[in-house]
Subunit: 435 residues, 2 copies
């Protein structure tokens, strides 16, 4: 089922397909989301409750919006101790990696008396969106919460849609518990995004919204961007595997399918120096897919968005990969660590045959919220740095300002800003008079 | 002209005014910008040229789109050596500050054999938007270019609108020259933003668009966000001055007006423990404004968006400031450096009476591209970090993956992802068979 993609040095077609999987937001969706956002801004809670009823069938009101302590406890009773242990182990793995992203405050004390620097401070309040139904992943709760916690965010609130029964998935409650998140609002969709962006009587305004969601959630995040910060507009997931002739086809097939099972728009591409490997991987795909639950999804995404590209050298493989800028990159070559300098664009990199990408989805330590669709050219995966903002500062002694006076005044006047010039020169008025 | 704002512990009204100065993008603007973006995507150059003609009166074609070497040289001849020296001194000041923002690559070598880390890489190609006419500030060119250069961005292109004569402001050419920017396209507006976001035959696609612009430029940036990265959606400029009773009213008045002269939506607010200081500042305002060129703008913005808030203590002044999250914060108190821990939200902080905010607009070293309208709660000013993206990586030895095998398989299955589980377990199939 793995098509071989003819690669003649030009990747335009593959790249367009790879990067074009993002669903184009229709004018209709845009318009209806804009209406929802406007309604929440104007009417607050009443609009929020009526959308919850309309879209999710939940009779929301200000008394049943929050998950109660009792509901949490009842949910957590359903979770066995082993599952809790796995969640805690995951959290600790993620922490171990992410703690190295801390610490971007610094200061300079110049000998001339100037002091300058940058202070990193956590955002105060962050909303974590968790989709309902089968798209509710406890691993994603941990991936989003840990960097925020490490950054020092004081308040993390969760928003998640519920159906008419008002129930939140117990695994999600368990992940929230492990991350110390106790404030969970039973609202979802574009209306929940607008509610945390603007604040309502029942829901506090936040500084940033993170977490995945459907096209309505993503569109609402984009519309509210600027009013609050957002993480990124995520598209369908993808993996690119670079393999030499010694790589194990069995592992490659398994890893391509792990990616493909996410959804029919997922993409899994093999780039290899070995044409015979492609054949072997294909055989393995046919064999292994038989026993996999999501066989239909896998077969669809591998046929439509999967493929194999045979290149002349490993260096060329990395050129291909850099052009596609994959979310996940597996390097199944000899001496995989030595290949790192060749990688320009990739969300997260998995080196060697015992670091399969799914390890990174859960417990390797790196974040699984990553840039997709070629946006790894300019975006990074989620990290502690996403929950911190900087203030720069400076302190100049009088004699150093004096040294800059003439130049700043000239520069400001050249830009037509005479009050800027005045602000500097007024500080030296007395001296002029004395002279 | 400085209104005293009655402050009873609640700042909602001030905050709304302060944060609500951002022009609401009308449906009309949104729609016409979306049309422009769509046209550029579909028709490329031909749409670009026809918009340049329509909106700017410039008969653009593929042969006159770039500023030629001759045009640059002719422009630069108009610039005197002193101005070049000031530009170079500014660049070197900005570099000195920003070089401390470098270096976020790291790696961990665990004793168990696991290797993990994060690689920082520069974006490859960045577009710097420079508005036409009086809003073209050479200082802003330097502020945008220096962090990109320090990050290691290989290609910085400039886009700027021209009128029918095809001339680019000579001061802008000089700033570009000092920053080593040689590729300057004579296109502006929403069409130029769309052109660099999607690429046309004449204009290359970039990874990120930075730089200020009018409402059409800002809307186009927001619409293209996701396809490329953007800096931020900037609003009108603002300053908040915290002053105790010993602060010099002359300097305060000058600094408030330096902010106010930017435009009628600019905001300048004094927060002080001293009611008599407010009176003195007001007198200074009346006096100094007489001789300032932009008197009308200053009077308008001070009356509409300026004000003084009298508080009971310096600590309360910082609480007010943290709520408003100003773009620029001046601290005119005794021991200003010791106040830094109190500051939670501010774009850039100016400490003591000889560090006036306009010094920071040009030559103090910190960046003048800063978050406005209260967004300093979650955004940072422009820095080297905005031109870098991270790739995380990990390498696990077989025996460590084995240690995680059972937990990852259980976790993946609990999320319904059996191909994820398979990707881990397939690596231990042989051992199972052996047993």
């Amino acid at each position: 089922m793995l098509k071989q993609i003819d690669y003649q040095g030009s990747l335009e077609e593959v790249a367009n397909k790879f990067q074009g999987r993002k669903a184009e937001v229709s004018e209709e969706v845009n318009k209806s989301v804009q209406e929802i956002v406007n309604a929440i801004r104007k009417e607050g809670d009443s609009a929020l409750f009526s959308y919850a009823k309309k879209f999710d069938g939940y009779n929301a009101d200000k008394n049943n919006l929050l998950v109660t302590r009792k509901e949490r406890e009842e949910g957590l009773e359903k979770i066995d101790e082993n599952y809790f242990r796995i969640l805690r182990r995951t959290k600790s793995q993620i922490e171990e990696f992410h703690k190295h992203q801390l610490g971007n405050s610094w200061s300079i004390y110049k000998e001339n008396g100037v002091i300058m620097g940058q202070i990193a401070r956590p955002l105060e309040r962050v909303a974590l969106y968790v989709p309902g139904g089968t798209a509710a992943y406890p691993s994603t709760v941990i991936m989003n919460a840990v960097p925020a916690l490490l950054a020092g965010v004081k308040e993390i609130i969760m928003i998640t849609p519920v159906k008419s029964d008002g129930q939140v998935n117990a695994n999600i409650l368990a992940a929230a518990e492990v991350c110390g998140i106790e404030t969970i609002y039973k609202v979802g969709g574009a209306q929940a995004v607008a509610a945390v962006a603007y604040g309502t009587d029942s829901i506090p305004k936040v500084d940033k919204i993170v977490g995945p969601g459907n096209i309505f959630v993503a569109t609402a995040k984009k519309i509210c961007y600027g009013m609050v910060d957002i993480d990124m507009i995520a598209g369908p997931s993808e993996v690119l595997v670079i393999a030499d002739e010694k790589a194990n086809p069995k592992y490659i097939a398994a890893d391509l399918m792990a990616q493909a099972e996410h959804d029919k728009l997922a993409s899994a591409i093999l780039v290899t120096t070995s044409e015979s490997l492609v054949q072997k991987v294909d055989e393995e795909l046919e064999k292994q897919v038989q026993s996999l639950e999501r066989r239909e999804i896998i077969e669809s995404s591998v046929s439509n968005y999967g493929g194999a590209i045979v290149v002349k050298s490993i260096d060329e493989a990395f050129e291909v990969s850099n052009q596609l800028a994959p979310e996940h990159l597996e390097v199944l070559t000899s001496a995989p660590l030595a290949q790192l300098p060749k990688i320009k664009n990739a969300g997260s990199i998995f080196l060697g045959e015992y670091t399969p990408e799914p390890l990174g989805d859960y417990m390797s330590g790196s974040n699984h919220v990553l840039p997709t669709g070629g946006t790894a050219k300019f975006y990074s995966g989620l990290g502690v740095y996403n929950f911190v903002k900087y203030s720069t500062y400076s302190y100049y002694p009088k004699e150093i300002l004096a040294d800059f006076q003439e130049d700043v005044v000239t520069f400001a006047k050249s830009e037509g800003l005479s009050a800027h010039a005045n602000s500097i020169s007024v500080r030296f008025d007395d001296e002029k008079k004395e002279k």
